[in-house]
Amino acid sequence: MQIIPVPGTLDASAVDHLIRELAKNPEEKVLFDARHLRWVDPGGIIGLLAVGTVTRDRQGTPPRLQLMDGADVTTYLARMRFFEAAEAVFDLDIRHPRRSWSSSDVLLEITSISTNSDVHAVVDRVQQQAGAILSKTLSYPASAVVQFSVILSEVCQNVIEHAEAPGWVAAQSYMWTKRLGRQVLILHVADVGKGFRGSLADTHAGRFGDRWGDATALEAAFIHGLTRFPDSGRGQGIQQIRKQVRRWEGGISIRSGTARISDVPKWDDTLPMEDNLPYFPGAQIHIVLPARIPGDA
């Protein structure tokens, strides 16, 4: 059995470590050792579910996941409803911790997205809860609740329209003390479906010739708004999400296949395009919205 240690801090970028390890022995049974996990964000939680799902589907049997019983992070995972989703993915050797209901910083627990009704449910739930986090925690104007709901709706629809596979969404606010010295809201949506290259290949691969790949597919959708649909009304979602995230001085990245494309805010030093990453199916959209500094326009 291959034992893959889960990093102590698991965010969207640390999930690449799991993907890389998984690629070393793809046929071997896997145990994800998360006993040293201390901190995880929506990108990390959903990333873990996605990696587990790919492992399960590849091997026909759920991989094992070891967590530290009674640890704070385990309680947090319960609060984020990780275990409800993980039951179908992992062979868990931990009892379901009781879920704490008082979670003022959790905007949206792990929620499966597979139908349009799921998107409606998510948008309705967020509208009820987002006001406090967006206005009090991030100092955004009251209108931000609607704009955030639109972002959420568009990113979740991306799963349904392009992935042809289920996905997950989650959102949570954190204090990024070291990195930014500010509160941030992290929204992560991921699926393990066709990915951007797969979705766009039939309609757009030809014109790119040898250059066609995950990076060019991401550029086509992210920069140029191309979609697989001939309808000229399509392809606006990502463009408008990027605009709104920029207005809030946030960052957005999409990882798909072997590439990651990002709109990099001035406070970040991520590369705008990363290629030759370890392959992972589907698409993973990561959005970071920082709190406004008092006095900002």
Partner: protein, 195 residues
């Protein structure tokens, strides 16, 4: 008074969403929802009698509108009734338009080179979407005056005859030309007291 019949049809989109999707939400999100609402609007319009119709699309109760829905309920709806084989002669006014609707609406309208007449919560009418400066100015004049006679139109524009530009607004369904008098009406004028 108008000397001919323009049937006003008021369509509450918030109600349509609830009625057609058997749910309590008034969030206009996801493309299938937008498609269902657009088809419901088209059905309502096809069931009503009369050659000419002014349709008031009421967004007052819509709390969220995403870009996919705006594309279906606004852009595609307008496109359908601009086509030569349109099912009916319909003019549209969007009512109860707030900033939360206006952003997505403007994006989808501009993308399709469309414009629309909107009534804000205050009761003021606005032209949004893709319109040239000349079109916007002329539409503003018509909206303030509510109607312009053909003779007046000929000397309205300092640069010359404004009739051609007014006809442009009519062909874009942003204004109405009375087939009997040839006068031009703001869509708000067609609503009259029946609004």
């Amino acid at each position: 008074m108008l000397e001919f019949a323009v049937d006003p049809i008021s369509i509450d989109v918030g109600h349509l969403v609830r009625r057609n999707l058997a749910s309590l939400y008034s969030s206009l999100v996801t493309r299938p929802t937008g498609q269902a609402v657009r088809m419901a609007i088209e059905n309502v319009l096809s069931e009503e009698g009369g050659e000419l119709c002014l349709s008031v699309i009421d967004l007052s109760h819509v709390t969220v509108m995403d870009f996919s829905c705006a594309d279906e309920v606004v852009a595609k709806l307008l496109l359908r009734f601009l086509e030569n084989d349109r099912p009916r002669n319909v003019f549209f006014v969007f009512r109860g338009v707030r900033d939360l609707h206006r952003g997505p609406m403007e994006v989808v309208l501009e993308r399709q080179s469309l414009a629309a007449v909107c009534e804000a919560g205050s009761g003021a009418f606005h032209l949004i979407g893709a319109a040239s400066t000349q079109e916007a100015e002329l539409w503003g004049i018509l909206e303030r005056r509510r109607r312009i006679d053909p003779s007046e139109a000929a000397r309205l524009n300092k640069k010359g005859d404004a009739r051609e530009a007014l006809e442009g607004l009519v062909s874009r369904r942003l204004a109405f030309r009375n087939p009997l008098t040839g006068g031009y009406h703001a869509l708000s004028d067609l609503l009259g007291d029946r609004a």
